[in-house]
């Protein structure tokens, strides 16, 4: 194997010119593939940092009562089933050094805002808890009270609402909606500020921020209860291990609780799923490209090897067997593909850094839907690199299978024949 590798390296350096074309193609191919998938990674990242972080804020573990899960699994309404002693439970959980934050969650219902004699439909309140550092890192206050969390009985509207519904700081607004018991509920609040998400999205325009306790009270929960808790762990803590630890802790302390990690949760992020599907379509398109590139590669390799008949003949004269030569040339093709692939990925990374440094942003809803937020961002993920390298490996295998068998059928006599 070592010898095959050595010969393959020597061949690459002595046939630089011939391998240049393969290198060029794999570089171009992996560069474009990288950009396509980086776009898709960026979309998913934007969604995660934007709309999902408000409606489905980041969590490592979730804590439910067993009854909540039982009802949810059977399609029954689980939202009335709550953790009744949420504050004590939070304290208990925060005693674990691995746990960084424990946040109560309150579902956001559809509400209407009655302002200046008009009732605007389809707004969503988002609860902001004082110690929720995650959600507070997702927006800035652009006007009004600069505190990130509104005061009691005040709300922070999306900055677009200033223009779209003519809201002003200090305006009195009536919020009309339903409680978890399906009863109509109303609250009077004042506009204390306008917020702007760092990763904006049309779905966030009709969302407003309100103090956690206000929303808790508004939808019908008691002060010390929550349908479930969100746990965020310290860096490098494994959620699965922590889950096991918490399960045995709950058993030991007779707590009727269930803990879910991202992997074991059946509640999926709908936005992430939609953009995930778009990613699958992009991957399907890259597959076609890989297939066509593989065909071109076969052509180049087969012509190259045809010209290297004398070299192959010499190897046979020196006593090499066909399987050994198959390994040598496969390694050669693979290495050239990989060098090209890595060059393409590095170029793509460079292009990604330049594009991201340009900080392209837009307030256009169409733009925000396409790229996932107000920021055009090219992402990067391990799966992208694995997919490109894997694709090039498949090209290598296809090329070897289709060309080497025939190309290595060379008589040792060729080695001593004159050039024609």
């Amino acid at each position: 194997m070592k010898l095959a590798l050595q010969i393959a390296f020597r061949n690459i350096s002595s046939h630089k010119r011939k391998n240049r074309i393969i290198f060029a193609v794999t570089t171009v191919l992996s560069f474009f593939m990288f950009l396509f998938l980086a776009f898709s990674d960026g979309e998913i990242e934007n969604i995660k940092n934007g709309v999902s972080s408000f409606y489905r804020p980041h969590w490592d573990l979730r804590v439910f009562t067993k009854e909540f899960i039982r009802l949810d699994d059977r399609g029954e309404n689980p939202w009335e089933e709550t953790i009744l002693n949420a504050d004590e439970l939070k304290k208990d959980l925060l005693a674990f050094p691995e746990i960084k934050e424990v946040i109560s969650y309150v579902p956001a219902n559809n509400v209407s805002l009655f302002i200046n004699g008009k009732k605007y439909l389809y707004f969503s309140p988002i609860a902001v808890e004082k110690n929720d550092s995650f959600i507070q890192s997702k927006y800035e206050i652009v006007e009004g009270n600069t505190e990130l969390i509104s005061e009691k009985n005040t709300i922070s509207l999306h900055y677009m609402m200033k223009k779209l519904i003519g809201a002003k700081i200090g305006d009195e607004i009536s919020i009309v909606g339903d409680t978890i018991f399906d009863q109509v509920t109303m609250a009077k609040v004042r506009v204390s500020s306008f917020y702007k998400p760092y990763f904006d999205n049309p779905n966030l325009a009709s969302s407003f921020l309100m103090p956690f306790e206000d929303l808790q009270n508004y939808v019908g929960y008691e002060q010390n209860e929550a349908p479930y808790l969100i746990i965020r762990l310290q860096p490098k803590v494994n959620p699965e291990k922590m889950q096991k630890q918490l399960i045995s802790w709950a058993e030991d302390t007779n707590k009727e609780l269930r803990f879910f990690t991202q992997k074991t949760s059946s509640r999926q992020d709908q936005w992430a799923m939609i953009y995930g599907m778009i990613r699958y379509i992009i991957i399907a398109m890259t597959l076609i490209t890989f297939f066509i590139a593989a065909f071109g590669m076969m052509n180049v390799v087969s012509v190259n090897l045809l010209e290297r008949a004398k070299e192959i003949g010499t190897y046979y004269c020196l006593g090499c067997e066909k399987p050994f030569l198959m390994a040598v040339y496969t390694i050669e093709i693979f290495l050239v593909n990989m060098i090209g692939g890595i060059a393409g990925i590095l170029l793509g990374q460079g292009a990604r850094l330049i594009v991201n440094a340009l900080k392209i942003t837009s307030e256009e809803p169409g733009f925000q839907i396409v790229v996932g937020s107000s920021v055009f961002y090219l992402g990067s993920s391990l799966s992208t690199v694995v997919w490109i390298i894997g694709g090039l490996a498949i090209i290598t295998i296809l090329t070897s299978l289709s060309t080497l068998g025939k190309a290595l059928k060379v008589s040792p006599v060729v080695a001593v024949q004159e050039l024609n």
Partner: protein, 542 residues
């Protein structure tokens, strides 16, 4: 004479070197087929997106009041509960519909409502579009019922027919048959089921006729078949008399409610579900709370908010309605249900011609600008301040997906072309090396380097042309196939698929892109010929 010589030389070279050119030929054929498919996909994705917008929701044009959220530049403007109306008389309606470019037009009212099951629980929030019942099919053809009927004509005194958006999400349908019990509706696990089997079969020996049901795996199907067969039987009163007395020893309001609802019910379709509810009330620890599912023929109470309420909270209007059928929905955006505009006006106390918009569908999309201008002139003449907005504005958000795909496909096509061009340059370079004696002989015999360059690039052009022909045939087969079965995985459309249509443009584009570009890049390596003398081609080595 010269032409004949060129032809002879080209065809002779091609036949002599056919082995070498074979792979490039196949590569170009595949590439051209892919370009054709991608261009067709792009066009049909756009076409289907437009059709979904125009034929399912907006039409090509909408005439709206000036303060309508639809008339605003920014479509994220939240709608208000109080509606503004346009009020056009019958003459306008006749004039508009008489325009030869107009396929159909109708006044409509966009509103929302909350549907409650007759049992009282909230069923769903509905986005409603009230239109002229007789014009719905021709105005928005994609609303054709997928299940049930799409006839939403309403007669005073009867339930208002609703053509409901199919209860569907991109992750699958969530409708279920209300007339039968499902396994998930029983709380017990497999070990606990036999106890429930024995309890219920003792209480109702006439329903469960073949006990014992001892184990969940073997007896579940037999048990369920007997239970479900009973649910769809017509008898009710007889069965109610058979309920064992011990169930009534303590007063249970849930049981009382369920029995009352079943006794009073006159809707034959609801009987199986109401029987299920009685069972649930009898065995609340064994059967989960039942929500009446959405099904065609379901009666609901529709709660419509007042049009011009001045209070923060005002009592809504309750309307007796029935789901007459299910129609297609835009899976990623708001799903819409339809009702008769006359019923809506009647219940909401609106005047005969009041509407929140006028939807206009044209025969051809290309007439949008022209008809928009015609309607705007007419409105000016009438002294109306109503605005005309087109489908591109109304569907700006939905169409961004199509725009993004156009961009991605454009990039992919560019990538394919780059790959083909790199390989073409490579092939011509190799040809120059391998055919140097042939080229040298040609030059020595009197061919100029220009003529040789022309001959070789014509060979490349010919390979590209013939491979495009083959690629076109291959692409045509795939286009026909995908026009029948559709390309799956397209979550953007109601059908979940993109159906390709044959059009000449992608085929022409494949030829126009590949043939000239490959011929042009072949000149790059061929330019070396100018620097060489005939004798150079006969030297040994490379």
């Amino acid at each position: 004479m010269i032409n004949i010589m060129y032809k002879t030389l080209i065809f002779r070279s091609l036949s002599r070197h056919k082995k070498k050119g074979r792979r490039l030929f196949v590569l170009m054929a595949l590439c051209s087929a892919t370009i054709i498919l991608l261009l067709s996909f792009k066009e049909d994705f756009k076409r289907q997106s437009e059709e979904q917008l125009v034929q399912l929701r907006y039409g090509h044009l909408e005439i709206v009041p000036p303060d309508s959220p639809l008339a605003q530049k920014n479509l994220i403007t939240p709608p208000t509960e109080n509606l503004s109306f346009i009020n056009f008389d019958k003459d306008f309606d006749i004039w508009l519909r008489s325009l030869p470019e107009v396929a159909e037009a109708s006044p409509s009212i966009t509103r929302y409502g909350i549907a409650y099951s007759l049992g009282g629980e909230t069923e769903s929030w509905l986005a409603l579009l009230a239109v002229d019942a007789k014009r719905l099919a021709s105005l928005l053809p994609l609303t054709k019922a997928l299940e049930g009927s799409d006839d939403i004509s309403w007669t005073e005194g009867e339930d208002v027919p609703i053509l409901r958006a199919t209860p569907y999400s991109i992750f699958g349908s969530y409708t279920e048959n209300p007339d039968i019990f499902y396994r998930y509706q029983l709380r017990a696990n497999d070990e606990g089921l036999p106890q429930f089997f024995s309890e219920i079969s003792k209480d109702f020996p006439k329903i469960f006729i073949s006990p014992p049901y001892q184990n969940a795996a073997d007896d579940w199907n037999r048990f369920l078949t007997e239970w479900n067969a009973f649910l769809i039987k017509e008898d009710v009163h007889e069965w109610l008399d058979e309920i064992p007395d011990y169930f009534f020893e303590d007063y249970d309001w849930k049981l009382d409610d369920a029995l009352w609802e079943l006794r009073e019910n006159t809707n034959f379709k609801r009987k199986p579900f109401l029987k299920k509810k009685v069972f649930q009330a009898l065995y609340p620890n064994d059967i989960v709370d039942l929500w009446e599912p959405v099904y065609v023929g379901k009666q609901v109470t529709l709660q419509l908010p007042l049009i011009n309420a001045t209070e923060v909270i005002a009592l809504p209007v309750a309307v007796n309605a029935v789901y007459t059928g299910f129609c297609a929905v835009d899976p990623l955006y708001q799903e819409v249900s339809f009702m008769d505009i006359n019923a809506f006006r009647y219940y909401m106390g609106l005047k005969e011609n009041e509407a929140t918009e006028y939807i206009v569908r044209l025969h051809k999309s290309s007439d949008v600008e022209k008809i928009k201008a015609v309607i705007e002139d007419k409105l000016l003449e009438m002294g109306s301040d109503a605005k005309v907005v087109d489908w591109k504005h109304l569907g700006e958000m939905q169409m961004t997906t199509a725009t993004a795909f156009t961009f991605v496909i454009g990039l992919l096509i560019g990538l394919f072309i780059i790959i083909v061009l790199i390989f073409t340059v490579n092939l011509v370079l190799i040809s120059l090396l391998q055919r140097k004696k042939e080229i040298g002989t040609g030059l020595a015999m009197g061919l100029s380097t220009g003529q040789t360059t022309l001959l070789m690039s014509a060979e490349v052009g010919l390979i590209a042309f013939v491979s495009c022909l083959l690629g076109s045939v291959f692409a045509l087969v795939l286009v026909v196939l995908f026009s029948k079965i559709g390309i799956p995985g397209m979550v953007f459309f109601a059908s979940g698929k993109v159906f390709l249509q044959f059009r000449l443009y992608p085929f022409i584009m494949a030829f126009l892109i590949l043939v000239p570009s490959t011929m042009l890049v072949s000149f790059i390596p061929l330019s070396q010929l100018n620097e060489k003398m005939p004798v150079d081609f006969f030297k040994e080595g490379k």
